[in-house]
């Protein structure tokens, strides 16, 4: 994709060439803050009007483009339904909880809480309705793992869906004691390896049903006859193809810093882990590190980080910048988001996963951040992070996906798969 951005007008010949358009595809990404449209020759990006229904807003701003395509040629992905809230109950951190979390992230789930089953009685109950509860634990020959404490906890929990992906021996008791539970094959095989397929399909379908059920998004099916996929799922599919568009040297990480969340996609080479999957790349999400919808929590996270004041000094601003509503303040927030995300995935913070950041050769940035920061501003933050946190002069190459090529590639790849 080499065309310029933002509301590029279609030429007359394009507008009038219905035959040509019908052979092309229109790719649409509906994000929490922006939506983007891509055709073979054109890329548009629009800030969403939150007073309008998504479809009405879309048709108002790009109706001509959409009208020139048949429903079968329109492919949509979205992260605007907010994602599914997920609670995972597992029996160990290293296997059941980690495997289920990995599958959930790779299926496009954003919000994940975990409960270690042996301590289930110590956990407070989430007050919000949970979209899906996942129960997992034990290889198939290890039964009697779950008992009444699980059923007592679930009896007090409010959830819409529940799935059991643990050992076969406990499945009948689970079926008997939990109403409407879906039983799927175990995600842990007899060699303690992960089995992703069934849970991944289940979660992707649930996401699909969630989209269909959300008033705002289900209207999008008026303009497409294809399945609407979660955006992160599409981006994850792109990564093996990334060489086609960028000179990216492996291993790399991709940071998608958007309005509501920050997604990280990383090569598996960067993790020393017991998790052996068929994916070349995995994903994780920081749900409170967006620069628009979750701006306040980003500022809170920044204020809690001991190095942030030094970073602000380095950027020649004070913390008063957090109160400002200027372009400069947005830039600083974006820079902080990069720094905080790198901190969270480094060994500086113990997290679900820590990446070997000194081995990274490239950092690819996509999402709204590429529209706000220059390459130099991003590199400045990255080298500050490496010096301050990792005490290293290591300087990975920064690649900016300013034209959203990654998402376009993913959408095209997805379309080829269909």
């Amino acid at each position: 994709m080499t065309s310029p951005l933002n509301n590029v007008e279609h030429s007359d010949s394009e507008k009038n060439s219905a035959t040509k358009a019908s052979k092309e595809k229109l790719l649409i990404d509906v994000g929490s803050t922006y939506f983007k449209l891509s055709t073979a020759n054109n890329l548009e990006q629009h800030f969403r009007d939150f007073n309008k229904d998504i479809l009405a807003d879309l048709m108002h701003k790009c109706g001509d483009t959409i009208d020139s395509f048949g429903k079968e040629d329109v492919h949509i992905c979205s992260s605007a339904n907010g994602g599914l809230t997920t609670l995972i109950i597992g029996i160990t951190n290293t296997f059941s909880l980690k495997y289920a979390t990995n599958i959930a992230f790779n299926s496009g789930i954003n919000i994940i809480d975990t409960v270690l089953y042996q301590n289930i009685e110590d956990y407070s109950l989430p007050s919000d309705l949970i979209d899906v509860v996942i129960i997992v634990g034990g290889i198939n020959s290890n039964g009697n793992v779950f008992s009444d404490s699980l059923y007592n906890y679930l009896a007090q929990l409010r959830y819409s869906n529940i799935v059991f992906v643990g050992n076969e021996l406990d499945a009948p008791a689970i079926q008997e004691n939990i109403a409407n539970v879906e039983i799927l094959p175990n995600i842990i095989d007899d060699r303690l390896h992960i089995v992703e397929q069934h849970l991944r399909e289940y979660l992707t379908n649930l996401y699909q049903k969630d989209i269909e059920g959300k008033e705002d998004i289900k209207h999008l099916y008026d303009i497409t006859s294809n399945q609407i996929f979660p955006t992160p799922y599409v981006v994850n599919k792109t990564l093996p193809l990334i060489d086609a568009k960028f000179s990216v040297v492996n291993p790399f990480i991709l940071l998608d810093i958007g309005g509501a969340t920050t997604d990280i996609h990383y090569s598996k080479d960067l993790v020393d882990d017991n998790l052996v999957t068929e994916n070349e790349y995995d994903r994780l999400v920081f749900k409170k590190l967006g620069v628009y919808k979750s701006k306040q929590s980003l500022i809170f996270a920044a204020k809690s980080n001991e190095f942030v004041y030094e970073l602000l000094m380095h950027l020649k601003v004070t913390e008063n910048i957090f109160e400002e509503q200027t372009q400069k303040a947005t830039k600083i927030l974006m820079q902080l988001a990069i720094f905080l995300v790198l901190c969270k995935i480094s060994h500086y913070k113990k997290a679900y996963i820590n990446l070997k950041l000194l081995s990274i050769n490239s950092i690819v940035l996509t999402g709204g951040i590429t529209k706000v920061l220059t390459g130099d501003e991003i590199e400045d933050i990255i080298s500050f992070f490496y010096k301050k946190i990792l005490n290293s002069e290591h300087n990975p190459v920064t690649v900016l996906d300013s034209n959203y090529d990654i998402w376009t590639l993913g959408e095209q790849g997805k379309e080829l798969c269909q």
Binding site: T92, N93, T94, F95, S96, Q118, G138, S141, I188, L192
Partner: protein, 141 residues
């Protein structure tokens, strides 16, 4: 009977690890081999997931002692591992040392069987003896 085994810490002695797996298989155990570079928490978590009866840690580069000091503390966090047989073997010190000093030290760390520079089959015989003793003890209760 299920055995979880692996090489602890930053130790990549894979040949010994493979030999242990083969020998355990030959003696009829169901083996879950976590391989080299395994952290202590992974051993315990694997025991929980598999319902293992024996946790067998090996080490050749001698760093086992640093990890073993954490065994009691970590094991105490697990609610259902009280009966698991804890076994460690290989070269258990950096440099030289004699078994009379090393074995009680490791037993104090929480291991039931300690094999410092002991032949693999001898170590597995020790395991079988302990299993039989426990069975007799259980029957007599």
């Amino acid at each position: 009977m299920k055995v979880v085994t692996g090489v602890v810490g930053n130790d990549i002695h894979v040949v010994a690890n493979r030999l242990i797996e083969l020998s355990l298989n030959a003696r009829g155990y169901e083996v879950f081999n976590l391989g080299v570079n395994t952290y202590l928490e992974e051993f315990f978590d694997a025991a929980v997931e598999t319902g293992a009866d024996v946790l067998m840690i090996s080490s050749l580069n001698g760093e086992a002692e640093g990890w073993s000091r954490e065994v009691k503390l970590l094991k105490a966090k697990y609610k259902h591992l009280d009966d698991i047989i804890m076994m460690i073997g290989g070269n258990l010190v950096v440099g030289t040392g004699n078994a009379e000093d090393i074995v009680p030290r490791y037993k104090n760390y929480g291991f039931d069987i300690v094999c410092h520079q002991v032949d693999l089959n001898t170590g597995l015989d020790m395991l079988e003896t302990l299993i039989k003793d426990r069975e007799i003890e259980a029957r007599n209760k």
